[in-house]
């Protein structure tokens, strides 16, 4: 059997399994609680698996290993930041949010504030964060399929992105939260299995000696000791060092502001189950990120990662699949073809599960926050609300497809880091203020969200990511989104977090102290009692 046939079979298998789950879930879904929150009936362990499946995206599987393969130790920051971030979610957000919200991130704010302005703001930032995140996943899908088919044809990559977009819209419109959750659970199992397999194979090449793996990586890349030390990519100037710190801050503060992660806490019956699910997630995610060391350094040790290599041309995104091919025996061998197909199918499943979660989150927010509350003023029926969510999924899928096609040369982990920066700047300040600051009010919430969101997006637009980074010395292609001869950047950092996150907190504070809203302050006692004890919290539907 040729490698292409095998790959095709595995991809079709992934699609069939997930489509099957989706149809099954459709029959179990009867109202808004089922559609948005899976009936709140998942166990802590199930939700922990689903959180891992939702969180460990193409950025983790393809992006981090690529970042380590190309820039050595500096790439490992992603793994550490993405994991430590879960403590913010566990200690400050998960349980309190479960007790005080219903379906979306906005619920928790709307609990004590004026509905229309805060829901509009929260829905806007939910959609923006989710679209940034979606872009990264779709870029990964395009790169992956192009590798498997051995084509460089741009139109095939573009069609892959369209196909992934249509699939995710299908999952979300038909399966709702139940379908999406089960797709994520299946994916978590596949991803952990695939990663363990590659890790064991890599370590076996080096007699399970981490030190010799690292030594081989340092030698094979020709970068020596520097490859294993921090600073290879980010240590070159003070600006790049600050960029590294900025990235680190966005990673650690972003997770607890990611809407698609936050709404997962609503799928369990109680706050205690939300805690259990985060504990499981931390265990699974931590184990996975430890293995990114083997994947990344393994790719550096065993593959050609030089400036004209296939790994470098993909921005590092293809390091893991190519590593799998090498471990199976290399290009042209049966073993190589089998492992390449297997790992690519895992990456494909990973992408599908994450895009489904993201699309569901944005669609829910549009339907529940914008349509039902802002537009229909609470008069929409459950049926209408779910119908609007389904339409919204189509529109968001379309936007993501349209934006992903031009974004294809950016590293996926990097794109996801931008989504983290937006989440940390726009969402985290208002979530934290709302829970822990009695004086916080509607103006504070909207200013925090819009202030953080706009600062972040504006800084990215005027950063070297969009223009002015120069050209790749080998291929001559522009390293920024715009062609190399266009340069309008004035913000020196590629990661905006170090400026935009404090700005988000600042605007939240400023909006609050310049307005008075006694009702929001009065209701704080109710929010606190409910958040800390679960008194009056939404119940599970069986």
């Amino acid at each position: 059997m040729s490698s292409d046939t095998l790959t095709a079979i595995l991809f079709v298998a992934v699609v069939l399994i997930t489509v099957g789950i989706t149809f099954w879930a459709n029959r179990q879904t009867h109202g808004t609680t089922d559609y948005y929150a899976g009936g709140r009936s998942f166990s802590g362990f199930q939700n922990g698996m689903a959180i891992s499946g939702d969180y460990m995206s193409a950025a983790s599987f393809l992006g981090i290993s690529g970042a380590i393969a190309l820039s050595g130790y500096d790439g490992f920051l992603y793994s550490i930041g993405f994991l430590v971030a879960w403590l913010v979610a566990l200690l400050l957000v998960a349980e309190l949010l479960r007790n005080s919200g219903r379906y979306t991130m906005a619920d928790q704010l709307a609990y004590r504030m004026r509905q229309r302005p805060v829901r509009t703001a929260a829905a806007t930032s939910t959609v923006v964060v989710s679209i940034f995140y979606l872009l990264a996943q779709m870029v990964g899908a395009g790169a992956l399929v192009a590798l498997l088919l051995g084509v460089t044809d741009e139109s095939i990559k573009a069609w892959t992105i369209v196909a992934v977009g249509l699939l995710m819209v299908f999952y979300v419109t038909v399966g709702g939260m139940k379908g999406t959750t089960w797709v994520q659970i299946v994916k978590a199992v596949l991803l952990m299995g695939g990663t363990i397999l590659i890790t064991v194979l890599v370590l076996a090449e080096f007699n399970f000696n981490l030190s010799s793996l690292l030594g081989a990586a340092a030698e094979n890349t020709g970068k020596g000791e520097g490859f294993l030390q921090p600073g290879l990519k980010y240590g070159v100037s003070t600006t790049s060092k600050i960029d590294f710190v900025s990235l680190g801050i966005a990673l650690v503060l972003g997770t607890a502001g990611l809407p698609h992660i936050l709404i997962r806490f609503y799928t369990v019956p109680t706050a205690k189950d939300a805690r259990t699910s985060v504990l499981w997630a931390i265990g699974l995610i931590g184990a996975f990120y430890l293995m990114t060391l083997a994947l990344g350094f393994g790719a550096a040790a065993l593959l050609n990662t030089g400036p004209d290599s296939e790994v470098a041309a993909s921005g590092g995104n293809l390091a893991s699949p190519l590593l799998a091919e090498f471990l199976g025996g290399g290009e042209g061998t049966t073993g190589g073809a089998v492992l390449l197909a297997l790992i690519s199918a895992v990456a494909f499943a990973t992408i599908l599960a994450v895009v489904a979660g993201l699309t569901l989150t944005s669609a829910s927010s549009v339907a529940h926050d914008l349509y039902a509350t802002v537009f229909k003023k609470g008069q929409a029926t459950e049926k209408e609300e779910v119908k609007v969510a389904r339409i919204a999924a189509f529109v968001i899928g379309g936007i993501a497809i349209g934006l992903a096609i031009p974004a294809q040369k950016l590293n996926i982990a990097f794109l996801v880091a931008l989504a983290f920066a937006v989440a940390a700047s726009a969402n985290l300040p208002s979530i934290i203020y709302n829970m822990f600051w009695k004086r916080f009010n509607t103006r504070g919430a909207t200013w925090a969200i819009y202030g953080g969101l706009i600062s972040c997006v504006v800084l990215v637009f005027f950063s070297p990511v969009v223009s002015g980074l120069g050209v790749n010395p080998v291929t001559g292609a522009s390293l920024s989104l715009f062609p190399a001869d266009v340069d309008f950047h004035w913000f020196p950092l590629q990661n905006p977090g170090i400026v935009s996150i404090p700005l988000g907190f600042f605007f939240g504070w400023l909006g609050t102290v310049t307005s008075k809203e006694p009702t929001a302050e009065d209701k704080f006692t109710e929010l606190e009692v409910r958040a800390f004890t679960g008194a009056g919290a939404e119940q599970a539907h069986h």
Partner: protein, 119 residues
């Protein structure tokens, strides 16, 4: 108990006085105190520890590059320690909440149920 001052869909519903009573109970105040006394120091600790790691990676290059065993340097050990502390704090938090906070939360929640069921 409808709120007549504002359009109900413009403002969160008027709040239930039962929450004020529960909020004022010594049990709830104790619960909040216990929650804060773990969460606040733990958050400061893990965020500082993480930032120390990030900053040292960039500005303490020589120290971080020192080799510990074979090709394993201080930077890698420091990075792996971040994993260890994350697992440890998560475990300590769960243990603390189960022992010190959950029983109080259950008590207050039961009181709430009793209050609202009588209506």
């Amino acid at each position: 108990m409808a709120d007549t001052r504002v359009d109900p869909h413009d403002q969160a519903e008027r709040h239930d006085p039962v929450y004020d009573r529960l909020h004022a109970t010594p049990e709830f105040q104790e619960l909040k105190k216990r929650h804060t006394s773990f969460v606040l120091p733990a958050t400061i600790a893990f965020l500082s520890w993480y930032l120390l790691y990030v900053v040292m990676s960039m500005w303490a290059h020589d120290f971080m590059s020192r080799q510990v065993v074979g090709n394993i340097n201080v930077a890698l050990v420091f990075g792996l320690l971040q994993f260890v502390t994350t697992f440890l704090i998560a475990w300590l938090y769960a243990r603390y909440m189960t022992a010190k906070v959950d029983p109080l939360a259950r008590e207050i929640e039961a009181e709430y149920r009793e209050e609202v069921s009588g209506r």
